[in-house]
Each structure stands twice: as structure tokens, then as C-alpha cells.
């Protein structure tokens, strides 16, 4: 059986499993639909969180990005894992104790204000939609590359599958399919990585095998006229590396689809442990990705660089990927040889190799069987679908629970709320699929900055809401608007050529900080504004202060213990 046959088989089996799980985990009430009835175990939620978190970008693109960036790729590795420490320490257990459905729920109740709730809904829906469009696109791309169906049809198939289990099972269906999807994606990622580690060094653990390859990669990079792979700050200044990393960390901790996963566990204690399991499962992929980057770059440099262009073009895996357009051999100086700079793009030259093939072509490069290549396709689909479904739950709960159920029709019955939730999630799938087929130009631009915007809007008001009773409605609303406003405005000015089509950026950077790192400054502004405005206005009412007191202790207090609640 060829690659296509195996891919049809494996993708077909995984999809059948997802549908089987969906049918088994239908729900009958909103508690099941939005927070899986709070019956998920710590380890199970850890796996689901890992699948929810690791998107098509983590699976397909990240190792390639790091291979091109070298040390500076650490912004993604540390940025997208370090946020879980903040989440586990500062937010997850307390928000679980709060015991409602959504992040806007917490913002609205804690700051005693429907205006704050609406600001949070708008931010949650906006961040989620830009993010989900990219996932649906990822589904379409994997389909078109491995099964040779049009991208549009691929997106459509993905939509049908997600709609099926999200509408039927809500958060419960999504959680159990995410657990299955994690298993698929992690096997699909580790098998080729281990195979190439053995191929290059004879050692099966990639994290150990880099000790042999990295010194050689550093040496060969310098020999071939590139900068040393492990030398820091070659593309980005140290200030930008620091601020981008912090923006990604605090953005991660503030992303609604990650936070709500911790609403689904059985107890506060489970929320604390679950965060550890989640990061452990994420770390399996996130410590492997940089090794894949090192192996792939070393292998490509040592086999392709300074070879005649027709010899390179005759290598079978190069030929395969030239057909998809992801390798375009460009001999910029016309000497008939492929220099390292022409392959990977340096000194102002465009790269001949697309970043995404680092992961996708690895099984072919390592001469693995067709079944492994098919597994990688199924893994990419699992990563994209699991993230998309988690985001769709956030969109549905924000609109159906917070806007419809809380503001428009507080008297609606649970059955009716559930029905509205299902209808909203169905339409959200349709809109996401539409954006996946016809991505608006701004989407790619915005996704890259979603973290900065989340960092500048949610993170400070959540942390202060738990740790500072004095934080009030006025402070939170001004803080969110100031942080979000500053960050969006600064990004728009720095990226004006991409967003407005100006010839030059209106502002090249903000005191040396680039558009990705500016979210950290927005976050600090949010903190400062919330602090100052809260202190200048009256403290929050007693029932809010008592609520904050309540979420700080895991055990529910009995009536007799509430005497001295407000301190």
C-alpha cells in the first residue's frame, strides 16, 4: 500500500474513533456542555489541555521556525510552556473554586459589572475566531498535501467532524476526543524524531542525541557562512527576545480556551495537579521540537549545501516537495551550486526551503515506511481539530452563556440554554470554516499578535481579581481598555505596511520593542492603570470581597464559618 492508501486508512480510523467518542459522550445539560459536568480527572484533563493547546502551528510549523531561527527560537519554546507555571500558580486553582462556566463569567462577577463581562466576551470571541480560522486552514492544507483533495474540501470534511462532536457532546465530547487526539499527535511526532536521532547518532533519545549533533551543526553553519546555530540574538535583540517571551507566557496564561479546561476538573486539588500533567504532556513535544530542528538543519546542510543544483534536484524527497511548491531551488548567484544561504535564506536572500517541510518531510528524509508518513498526516489533523474544537467551545459559551443566558435572557431554562449553545457552536463552525477557505488577509497578521493582545487584556485583571480585593470595576475596565488599546494601536503603527498598506511603517518600533513584544508593555500598562484607577475610586461592594475570600480556599465554607469572612 502506498502513502495515500495508508493515509486514507489511518485518517479514516482516527476519524471513526472521534465520532465513536462523540456518540458515547452526548450531554443533556449546560454543565455537561460547557464544563463536562466537572468530572474530568487530573491526568485526563492534562492530556486534553495539551491537545487543546498544541495547534497545527505547534505540530507542523514550530520545529521549522526554530531550525531557521536557531537560539532565538527559544521565544516559542519558553514562551509557550512558561505560561503554564503562571497559570498553575496564579489562576487555575482559584478559577476552579469560583465554579462557573467561562472566563467572562469570572470577570463579570468579580468586577460586578456587565460592562466588564461584555469587554471580556468581545476579547474572548475575537481572539478565538482569529485563532480557529488558522486551524481550519491547517486541516485543509494537510488534506490537500497528503490526500490530494482540494483545500476547500479538506476544510469542509474537518468542519463536519468538529461540528458533529462539538454540537452533540459540547465540552464533554470535546474533552474525550482531545484525549484521543493527544495520543495520536504525540506518537506521530515522536516516532520520526526518534528515527532521525537513531539515523544520525545511533542514540534513540533525541534530547540526548543533540549533544553529539549540535557542536557539529554549529561548526558546519559557521563554515558555510551562516551564523552559529546556538549563538544568541542573531535575528532579534536580547530586549526583544525577553519581551516577546514574556508576552507569549502571560498571553498563554490569559487565553480563555486554556483557562476553561481547568473549570472541567473534579476539584481545586485536581486543577493544581492537572496543570502539571498538562505541561508534562506538552513538554514531550516541546523538548522534542528543538531537537528535530537541530537534526533536520544539520542533515540538510551536510547533504545539500554546496552541491550542484541538478544533483540536489535529483534527490527523491527534494523532488517530491518541489512538486508541492514548498521547495523552490533558487541559485541566486548563478554559480550552479546551492550555498547554505541560498537554501535557508540569509544575507537578504530568500530561502529555497519552506519552513513547514521540516516536520512534514522528516519521515521521508529518514526513509521511514509509508505508514509513518500517514501517521504524521493524522497527527497534524489531530493537532488542528483538537485546538479548533476547544476554541469553538469558548465562542459558544461566551455568546450563548454570557450574552444570551446572563444579559439578554437570565430567566431562560437550562434546556433552552443548551439548545442556544448548540446552535451557536454550529454557526461558529460554519464561520470558522468560511474563514478557513477564504482567509481574510488580516487573519495571519492578527494571529501572530493574539498572545500580546491576550496578555494585555486578560492576564492582569485575572491576577489582580484574585490577589487584590481592592481591585474594582472602574480599575478593571480602564485597565483592560488601556492595555488592549495601547497594544492594538502600537501593533497597527509598527505593522502599518501589512495592515494599512503604507509604504513604510508609521513607527518602526516602540523604543526598540517590536510588534510581538509590545504586548508585554501593554500588560504592564494594564496593571498600572487598574491599580491607580482602583485606588482613586471606591472599593468593591462587600459581596464581591466575600466572593474573593471564598475562592482563596479550596473547601466550600459552611454557613457557620462565614461569620468573619470579610477581613
Amino acid at each position: 500500500m502506498g502513502i495515500q492508501g495508508w493515509t486514507f486508512l489511518i485518517v479514516g480510523i482516527t476519524f471513526a474513533v472521534y465520532i465513536g467518542i462523540a456518540i458515547r459522550s452526548r450531554v443533556k445539560d449546560t454543565a455537561g456542555f460547557y464544563v463536562a459536568g466537572q468530572g474530568i480527572s487530573a491526568v485526563g484533563n492534562g492530556m486534553a489541555t495539551a491537545a487543546d493547546w498544541m495547534s497545527a502551528a505547534s505540530f507542523i510549523s514550530m520545529a521549522g521556525l526554530i531550525a531557521f531561527m536557531g537560539y532565538d527560537g527559544a521565544i516559542y519554546l519558553m514562551g509557550w510552556t512558561g505560561g503554564y507555571v503562571l497559570l498553575a500558580l496564579l489562576l487555575a486553582p482559584f478559577l476552579r473554586k469560583f465554579g462557573k462556566y467561562t472566563v467572562p463569567d469570572f470577570v463579570g462577577d468579580r468586577y460586578d459589572s456587565n460592562a466588564a463581562r461584555v469587554v471580556a466576551v468581545v476579547a474572548a470571541v475575537w481572539v478565538s475566531f482569529t485563532y480557529v480560522a488558522g486551524q481550519m486552514r491547517g486541516v485543509g492544507v494537510v488534506f490537500s498535501r497528503f490526500l490530494e483533495v482540494p483545500v476547500e474540501l479538506g476544510v469542509l470534511i474537518g468542519m463536519v467532524i468538529v461540528a458533529f462532536y462539538a454540537v452533540l457532546g459540547g465540552m464533554k465530547g470535546v474533552t474525550y476526543t482531545q484525549i484521543a487526539q493527544y495520543c495520536v499527535l504525540i506518537v506521530a511526532y515522536l516516532v520520526p524524531a526518534i528515527a532521525i536521532a537513531i539515523l544520525l547518532t545511533g542514540h534513540p533519545v533525541p534530547q540526548i542525541a543533540i549533544a553529539e549533533i549540535l557542536p557539529r551543526l554549529d561548526a558546519i553553519s559557521v563554515d558555510l557562512g551562516l551564523t552559529g546555530y546556538s549563538s544568541p540574538f542573531t535575528d532579534l535583540s536580547s530586549l526583544n527576545v525577553l519581551l516577546i517571551t514574556l508576552a507569549l507566557m502571560t498571553g498563554t496564561a490569559g487565553l480563555p480556551h486554556v483557562i476553561v479546561r481547568f473549570y472541567t476538573v473534579k476539584s481545586v486539588r485536581a486543577a493544581r495537579w492537572s496543570a502539571g500533567w498538562a505541561l508534562l504532556f506538552i513538554a514531550l513535544l516541546y523538548t522534542t521540537a528543538p531537537t528535530v530542528a537541530i537534526f533536520a538543519k544539520y542533515y540538510m546542510l551536510s547533504t545539500l549545501a554546496n552541491r550542484p543544483i541538478d544533483v540536489v534536484a535529483a534527490i527523491p524527497w527534494v523532488q517530491n516537495w518541489m512538486q508541492t511548491g514548498l521547495i523552490t531551488l533558487r541559485d541566486a548567484n548563478g554559480d550552479g551550486l546551492m550555498q547554505a544561504a541560498e537554501l535557508f535564506g540569509a544575507h537578504g536572500l530568500p530561502a529555497s526551503i519552506d519552513r513547514d517541510i521540516i516536520v512534514l518531510a522528516l519521515p521521508e528524509i529518514a526513509n521511514l515506511a509509508a505508514i509513518i508518513i500517514a501517521l504524521v498526516a493524522a497527527g497534524g489533523l489531530a493537532a488542528a481539530l483538537s485546538t479548533a474544537s476547544g476554541l469553538l467551545i469558548v465562542i459558544s459559551s461566551s455568546i450563548a452563556h454570557d450574552i444570551y443566558g446572563h444579559i439578554l435572557h437570565p430567566e431562560a431554562s437550562d434546556r433552552r440554554r443548551l439548545l442556544v449553545g448548540r446552535i451557536v457552536i454550529f454557526f461558529a463552525v460554519v464561520v470558522a470554516g468560511y474563514f478557513g477557505i477564504r482567509p481574510p488577509g488580516f487573519v495571519a497578521e492578527v494571529v501572530a499578535f493574539a498572545f500580546g493582545l491576550a496578555a494585555a487584556s486578560f492576564f492582569p485583571v485575572l491576577v489582580l481579581g484574585i490577589f487584590w480585593k481592592r481591585a474594582n470595576k472602574q480599575g478593571a475596565i480602564c485597565g483592560m481598555l488601556a492595555g488592549l488599546g495601547f497594544t492594538a494601536f502600537a501593533i497597527a503603527l509598527i505593522r502599518s505596511p501589512q495592515i494599512f498598506g503604507t509604504a513604510e511603517p508609521i513607527m518602526p518600533d516602540f523604543f526598540g520593542v517590536n510588534a510581538q513584544g509590545v504586548g508585554t508593555i501593554g500588560m504592564l500598562i494594564n496593571f498600572a492603570v487598574t491599580l491607580i484607577v482602583s485606588l482613586l475610586t471606591p472599593p468593591p461592594p462587600d459581596h464581591v470581597q466575600e466572593m474573593v475570600e471564598g475562592i482563596r480556599y479550596p473547601r466550600v465554607r459552611r454557613v457557620s464559618e462565614r461569620v468573619d469572612a470579610v477581613t
Binding site: 465554579g99 549540535l214 473547601r555
Partner: protein, 99 residues
């Protein structure tokens, strides 16, 4: 079980905040500080051939992040038992279904 006196609650929260501050400080040192701010000086040391600062940024920090979260969960469990605020079957917060 008798109601807890108020000072116990305050001490529990103070201990919780202290624990979080210490762990966040370690997070900052092993992540941003060692992996980014001090990466150049640390690169003078080598870990089996890999420059140490580079290794912290792309491997070591992630392992330590995982350890930090588990240590937090373990310490929090101990504190909950010490102050008798741990959850039991009847005292776990559940979501209140509207209507």
C-alpha cells in the same frame, strides 16, 4: 468540625502567597534570567557539548517548569491538610446550574 478561627484563614493565605512568590521567583530565574538575560555568560559552560545557556533556553527551562508546577501542587496539598481546608466529598465546589 468546629468553624476555623479567623487568624487561621489569614495565615493560610499568607503562607499560600509566600509559596507562590518563591516559586514565581524560581520560574523567573530558570526561565527568562538564565535562558535569556544571562545566556551569553552561561554559554561559556558546556553540558555534554551543548552550550549551557542555549540548553537552558531550549531544554532545561521547560523541564524545570514542569517540576515547579508539581512542587506547587504537592506543597499546596500539604498546606491544605495542615489548615484543614482540603476538599472532601461534601465540601468540593460544584458548578451551580442556573435554574
Amino acid at each position: 468540625m468546629s468553624p476555623e478561627p479567623a487568624f487561621d484563614r489569614r495565615r493560610y493565605w499568607r503562607r499560600t502567597v509566600q509559596r507562590i512568590l518563591v516559586l514565581v521567583a524560581i520560574w523567573a530565574i530558570v526561565g527568562p534570567v538564565m535562558g535569556i538575560v544571562l545566556v551569553r555568560p552561561l554559554n561559556q559552560f558546556s553540558l555534554g557539548g551543548v552550550p549551557f545557556g542555549f540548553w537552558m533556553a531550549q531544554q532545561g527551562a521547560i523541564y524545570l517548569f514542569v517540576v515547579l508546577i508539581f512542587v506547587n501542587a504537592w506543597l499546596a496539598d500539604r498546606l491544605d491538610h495542615e489548615f484543614n481546608v482540603h476538599e472532601t466529598a461534601e465540601t468540593t465546589q460544584h458548578v451551580q446550574t442556573p435554574h
